[in-house]
């Protein structure tokens, strides 16, 4: 990146100063091409933040992830969905490096994660935040200490600076007056929010959420979904969410990856999922009659055949 900046700086300076004559024409053209290439290349990398290339992962004889290729985009909520045992969690654990893929490559912003040394991975991991299914908060620490922990470990800030940042992120996840409480003293929804606060305290570039709504009531689930979506846009990060929750799929699924028996079965957006003809996907997403009816209704709405502000009394007749 530094080379790109240097080239841009050099190119701009020569143009602005009108000293272009000092540079030979072919050299100037080459430099121009290089700057354009670098700019295109860098923007390409920023758009395609995480690339999964032909990942294969097995345990013993059983192949759990079979040749999965996908792209997780920046500023969007990338959802991995699928039935239990379809390989969602294993794929996510491969993405964050908790499992080593047998074959294939994982690329973070153009850098191959699979080829990185342990030290390089440690550096990259400081740009990763993760919300675990069970929140994974440290039991012996208060909410404040939990959120402050990454700052303690990776910054040399003074205590007031760290406390200011902790209060900022706790405020961002709408959690006030809980600083001195222990994880055992707060509700499941609050634990998830503390988990999110801890994940974003170091301003990560990537956020991973493993079943963020598990064990939560529908209303709290919506709050957590909304929060994840807002944070993704606000911080312009690449968010990967592993979920079973159909509300999440419809609410925040900018890019959805449907896994079936370890393979990528379908990929698209929450708008496209309604019109998908994929039978496996449909039987998974719209499993109940109620959801099937809701889908039909949404399809008609989107096609403009039903007024969004329909009178429910008329419909009941």
């Amino acid at each position: 990146m530094q080379i790109i900046y240097w080239l841009l700086y050099y190119y701009n300076n020569n143009n602005e100063a009108g000293s272009g004559a000092a540079i030979e024409q072919p050299l100037r053209r080459t430099l121009q091409q290089l700057v354009v290439y670098a700019a295109v290349k860098s923007s390409y990398q920023f758009v395609l933040m995480i690339e999964v290339k032909n990942i294969i992962k097995g345990f013993g004889d059983k192949i759990v992830i079979n040749d999965v290729t996908a792209t997780m985009q920046t500023g969007k909520c990338n959802l991995i969905i699928g039935t239990s045992g379809s390989g969602k969690t294993v794929l996510m654990k491969c993405l964050v490096g908790l499992f080593e893929p047998d074959k294939g490559e994982i690329v973070y912003s153009g850098q191959s994660f699979t080829a990185m040394s342990e030290e390089e991975r440690k550096e990259l991991r400081q740009q990763i935040g993760m919300l675990f299914q069970g929140s994974a908060l440290f039991d012996s620490m208060t909410v404040e200490q939990n959120v402050m922990f990454p700052l303690d470990m990776f910054t040399k800030w003074s205590f007031p600076e760290k406390l200011k940042r902790v209060n900022e992120v706790l405020d961002r996840v709408n959690l006030k007056d809980a600083n001195k409480k222990f994880p055992a003293e707060i509700s499941g929804g609050m634990k998830k929010r503390v988990g999110i606060a801890r994940a974003i305290v170091l301003n990560p570039k990537y956020l991973f959420c493993d079943e963020p709504n598990s064990g939560l009531d529908p209303q709290t689930s919506l709050v957590i979904d909304k929060l994840i979506k807002e944070i993704t846009i606000e911080y312009n990060i690449t968010t990967v969410v592993n979920t079973h929750d159909m509300n999440s799929v419809m609410e925040i699924g900018d890019n959805i990856l449907y896994m079936y028996q370890g393979q990528k079965e379908w990929e698209g957006t929450n708008q496209e999922i309604i019109f998908s003809k994929n039978e496996r996907l449909n039987s998974f997403i719209f499993a109940s009659e109620f959801l099937q009816d809701a889908k039909d209704m949404r399809m008609l709405e989107m096609k403009g055949k039903i007024d969004n502000n329909r009178d429910m009394d008329d419909m009941m007749k």
Binding site: V96, G97, L98, R121, K122, E123, L124, R125, Q126, I128, M130, F132, Q133, G134, A136, L137, F138, D139, F149, P150, D152, M153, F154, F208
Partner: protein, 245 residues
């Protein structure tokens, strides 16, 4: 899993502990916290065991020394050497294997099962260095201190019991304590203490760190870690005695 696979994984865990700390201040804080947990947390039981251990050995030695030819101060010599050579390091460390070992194994096991270790890994922290190294280092610092305290209290317990039960006088006991004292015995006791401290901290850490499953497995690994630690302590006790005495 074969013995050699487990041994290899244990050695790799030990190797993994030695890496540059991400933040020395946080590691130091954790080290001090562990020193407090292992040292202060076990002090009570060590004091109780040591006093009674010395008292019982004084009474039982007196019971076996029936010959009038042997001076009573010999009881103090026997109590001193038994406590320093065997009781203080070995018995106390076996008790500590239960107290400290089960705590380490269950703490790490719980962290593993509740994904707290994964959370640390993803933050970019070397979990072996952050979670295991301070425990092992704290054990190496604190357990020899506990052994020294145990030795002193054991000898004092013997004196207390000897005088209280009228077996021998305080003066006779003190005379016996000073007779034929070899400083090498203290060195031997401390060598054992350091060896056992490493076993007490690293074996349960291994079983806790690599636990798989749920609450039941945490309990099992905790029990297994205590059993393995105790067996290894006795084995190391014999090896050290054979090599150093």
């Amino acid at each position: 899993m074969t013995f050699f696979t487990e041994l290899g994984r244990y050695l790799l865990m030990i190797k993994g502990m030695f890496s540059k700390p991400e933040n020395m201040k946080v590691y130091w804080k954790e080290f001090m916290h562990q020193c407090n947990d292992i040292g202060i947390g076990s002090l009570g039981i060590v004091v109780i065991i040591s006093v009674f251990m010395g008292a019982v050995s004084a009474v039982q030695t007196a019971y076996q020394l029936v010959s009038p030819v042997i001076p009573k101060s010999t009881i103090a010599q026997i109590v001193r050497d038994t406590v320093i050579l065997e009781f203080a390091p070995t018995l106390v460390c076996i008790v500590l294997a239960g107290v400290v070992g089960s705590k380490i194994a269950s703490e790490l096991g719980n962290m593993r099962v509740s994904e707290q270790i994964d959370a640390l890994e993803i933050m970019g922290i070397n979990t072996k260095a952050y979670l295991i190294m301070p425990k092992v280092a704290a054990a190496l610092v604190v357990i020899p201190m506990l052994v020294v305290i145990s030795g002193v209290l054991g000898i004092w317990g013997g004196r207390l019991a000897g005088v209280a039960s009228g077996i021998l006088s305080a003066a006779e006991y003190d005379k016996g304590l000073l007779a034929s004292f070899f400083a090498y015995n203290v060195f031997f006791a401390l060598t054992k203490a350091y060896t056992f401290a490493f076993i007490i901290s690293s074996i349960p850490a291994y079983y806790g760190y690599y636990v798989k499953g749920g609450a039941l497995e945490i309990g099992r690994s905790s029990t297994k870690s205590v059993v393995v630690s105790c067996v290894l302590i006795l084995f190391a006790d014999y090896i050290l005695a054979a090599l150093l005495l």
